[in-house]
């Protein structure tokens, strides 16, 4: 797994839908264009929700990986 440099991290582990998306939105709002946010989540729904959110908002989902039930997403703010 490649380590992508991130400007901020958001821990959504243990949270269920729609909290990971809502918290991701808030975190991204506080960042600069081009910066990367790393989100970790255990909600299995986030696997499909995160790409949908990114597609709709125009932010880029750079990578998604999973290890031991923890999903890691890297998002670049548009």
């Amino acid at each position: 797994m490649s380590e992508i440099a991130s400007n901020a991290e958001l821990n959504c582990q243990g949270l269920n839908c729609p909290l990971p998306i809502l918290k991701t939105k808030k975190a991204v709002d506080g960042m600069q264009a081009g910066e990367v946010l790393k989100v970790t989540a255990t909600d299995p729904g986030s696997v499909n929700d995160m790409p949908s959110w990114a597609k709709r908002t125009g932010n880029e989902l750079i990578e998604h990986s999973e290890q031991g039930g923890v999903h890691t997403f890297y998002i670049r703010k548009k």
Partner: protein, 169 residues
């Protein structure tokens, strides 16, 4: 930027289970850069009160699973077969079921209704209270949270006419 997509929701139910969908969908829509309006009418109106005291009623809900929020995973996943004469006649059964649901949701990391409502407001979701229902049920504006708009069917429809998604919940 292109015109944002619009979501229009009518929230007509005031039980704890039905309180969730309007706030989940509206907050998620706002997080996805959409505009969202929730029109609260009939039994949905109390969801605007400062303190939400929504309950679940398993008696009228044959499909509702009765689960325990504690114990082993097997025990938690067990669906308790509660006969109708129990759910309908035992005093305090709704309160107990409400407590169990709240506890299960908390354990599973689901936000409270109040939390989701707060995030809706933070994200700019508009809340419209049905003026007619207020008159009929005797609600006062002072009972409701700040930032609520007041209007009727026409006010909702004016917005919903241009909405991409319209839901009656």
């Amino acid at each position: 930027m292109a015109e944002p997509k619009k979501l229009a929701i009518i929230a007509s139910q005031g039980t704890l289970d039905w309180a969730y969908p309007p706030f989940i969908l509206a907050s998620s829509a706002a997080a996805m850069d959409m505009e969202a309006v929730i029109f609260f009418t009939f039994y949905g109106l109390p969801l605007l009160k400062k303190e939400i005291d929504a309950k679940v009623s398993p008696h009228s809900n044959p499909a509702m699973p009765m689960k325990m929020p504690f114990g082993s995973k097997e025990f938690q996943n067990f669906n308790w077969p509660i006969p109708n004469f129990v759910s309908g006649n035992v005093p305090g059964f709704d309160s107990m079921a409400t407590m169990l649901m709240k506890e299960t949701f908390k354990k599973k990391g689901v936000a409270t209704v109040e939390q989701l409502r707060g995030m809706c407001q933070e994200f700019g979701v508009r809340f419209i209270a049905c003026q007619m229902t207020m008159e009929v049920f005797g609600f006062e504006k002072e009972e409701f949270i700040d930032g609520v708009e007041y209007g009727g069917a026409a006010m909702f429809l004016e917005y919903a006419a241009d909405a991409n998604i319209s839901l009656f919940i």
